[in-house]
């Protein structure tokens, strides 16, 4: 049995876990826009404090968030350094060929760094405390207005939930196929780029066939259980707003107000 957790959901029961996934998803998306409201040291300090408070409210280990930031650390430094060396204006401290370090550059590099890190942190808070299934439900809820434009939201939701349900199953199957090929002498970790790409064929082809067969079986099973398209279906899983959602809403409104007040100081 596999122990993989889809996405990177880590079970827990702190305050952040009790917030409705729809609220979390909305706030996370809005946060990315709100962060651009910050334009001076005070607003950046405010938004950093608010974000760190959210991180600590999850009561998870710092390591979890470090793991979230780590894969993007190269990009963060690259962008910050670009700002640092190519931004001119204000006092110039150091200059060589096309590189300059100026006061504007320093400040902007720091802002970019903070902005990036905060966006990653807040999205990590979201993915780590929300089950993929809940995220899918939240996405379905957000997509609902698209029904006006005849977007088949119910079908998309079913597709997402089936896709999520099959992630661990297909992962298990992939491991099984890899082990079976290994026992016949396949080598997946050696050789150059071309050789490794070729070694993937004996995994991909059976996996592809397996997925198609599973899809046929599953559709037969669904049909024989009375599935005939999304119309007229009721929903078993529902999301409920709670008082915790009010807390998160006020928290977010407070953040936006503070940012607006201190913006032009």
């Amino acid at each position: 049995m596999s122990k993989i957790i889809v996405g990177r959901y880590i079970p827990g029961n702190s305050l952040v876990y009790k917030i409705d996934p729809r609220g979390k998803l909305l706030i996370t998306i809005l946060f990315i826009f709100v962060i651009f409201l910050a334009n001076n040291p005070i607003t950046y300090a405010i938004i950093t404090v608010f974000c760190l408070a959210a991180v600590f409210a999850t009561r998870l280990k710092v390591r979890v968030f470090w793991d979230g930031v780590k894969p993007l650390i190269g990009l963060i430094f690259f962008t910050s350094l670009l700002q640092l060396f190519f931004m001119t204006g204000g006092k110039t401290y150091w200059q060589w060929w096309i590189f300059t370090i100026s006061s504007y550059g320093l400040v902007n590099a720091a802002y970019t760094f903070i902005r990036f890190t905060l966006i990653i942190l807040i999205s990590t808070v979201m993915t780590v405390t929300t089950m993929p299934l809940e995220i899918a439900d939240a996405m379905e809820w957000l997509l609902k207005p698209l029904k006006i434009f005849k977007v088949p939201v119910d079908k998309i939701a079913l597709v997402i939930s089936i896709a999520l349900r099959f992630v661990p199953t297909l992962f298990d199957e992939t491991l099984k196929i890899m082990n079976a090929q290994r026992s016949r002498g396949a080598d997946f970790n050696d050789g150059g780029l071309v050789k490794r790409a070729k070694a993937i064929t004996p995994i991909l082809v059976p996996l592809f066939i397996h997925s198609l067969e599973t899809a046929i079986d599953l559709s037969t099973a669904m049909e024989s259980r009375g599935y005939r398209g999304s119309s007229g279906r009721t929903k078993y899983r529902v999301l409920n707003w709670s008082k915790y959602d009010l807390i998160s809403l006020f928290y977010f409104i407070a953040l936006v107000l503070l940012l607006l007040i201190f913006r032009n100081h």
Binding site: P168, R225, G226, R233, Y236
Partner: protein, 283 residues
């Protein structure tokens, strides 16, 4: 009018589009309401095709005069959905029939399709899960369940929509012996509690031995339809078409070969045990 037959096949012929010869040739059989019927036959004899014909996943050949009647309705393309309401199928692979992301979701899938209101759905899901002994797993994800547990969830999903007929399409073939015994016990209990008709399509001879009635299928034709004792006591017929027979019948056959004649009325394990003990004390 009371309907005494849950399923009736009359001259049913079926050909798969890509093959020339029909898989089923003029099949005739009846399954009595409230009975457990086992359908046995070797690989490729057309067993699984029959289950798909019963709930209209496949339709018999046109102009072949085929008539399929399921709980009093003649199956045609208009009432397929009404018939699917009456028939629940548990398929072979427990992984490939699990639709929901959790146990509760999966059991509710059939109810969602029928537009059942949510409050009622929550109650039904709990009830049927406790019927199959899986209530503790209501929020579990399929990846964390064993094959036997998944099949129990599949049974619960079918019970939730209260069908009249349950078809077990080799449902126990991918399970280990203990998983299989559990499933069969649950089915047996539910069958008497809820007055269900069971059609089990199987390779497993012990499963067939539990049935009231056995239909033997060979190359798309019905070879015999009788009680399991009648079928398995004629040791030659199952052997000729490559079928195994239950352990007790095998033992009786071997003892007969060794010159120990076992009377015809000795049929179950206990009867054989008693008879052999008596035979021993007589000596």
């Amino acid at each position: 009018m009371t309907i005494s037959n849950a399923i009736e096949f009359k001259d049913v012929t079926f050909t798969y589009p890509e093959s020339k010869a029909p898989v089923l040739k003029k099949i005739n059989f009846k399954v009595k309401k409230g009975s457990w019927t086992a359908l046995i036959g070797h690989n490729g004899s057309g067993k699984s095709t029959i289950s798909k014909l019963i709930n209209g996943l496949l339709l018999p050949d046109k102009d072949s005069g085929s008539v399929i009647t399921v709980s009093g309705m003649n199956l045609n393309s208009e009432n397929v959905w009404d018939i699917r309401e009456k028939v629940g199928i548990v398929f072979q692979n427990p992984d490939n029939q699990f639709v929901g992301a959790t146990v509760g979701d999966d059991v509710a899938f059939g109810l969602e399709n029928r537009g059942v209101p949510r409050d009622q759905m929550v109650q039904t899901v709990k009830k049927v899960l406790s019927d199959v002994g899986m209530l503790d797993y209501i929020d579990a994800e399929p990846a964390n369940l064993s094959g036997g547990q998944k099949q129990r969830v599949a049974i619960a999903g079918i019970l939730a929509v209260e069908p009249e007929i349950i078809i077990l399409d080799e449902s126990t073939s991918m399970l280990d012996p203990s998983g299989r015994d559990q499933i069969l016990k649950i089915i047996k209990r539910l069958m008497s509690e809820k007055k269900l008709t069971i059609l089990s399509i199987t390779h497993d001879i012990d499963e067939a031995d539990m049935a009231d009635n056995v239909i033997v299928l060979n190359d798309g034709k019905i070879l015999a339809q009788a009680s399991p004792t009648e079928i398995f006591s004629q040791t030659e017929m199952p052997r000729q078409i490559g079928l195994d027979i239950p352990f007790v019948d095998k033992l009786i056959y071997k003892l007969n070969q060794l010159g120990i004649t076992i009377p015809k009325d000795v049929q179950t394990k206990d009867e054989l045990k008693q008879y052999l003990c008596q035979l021993n004390s007589k000596k």
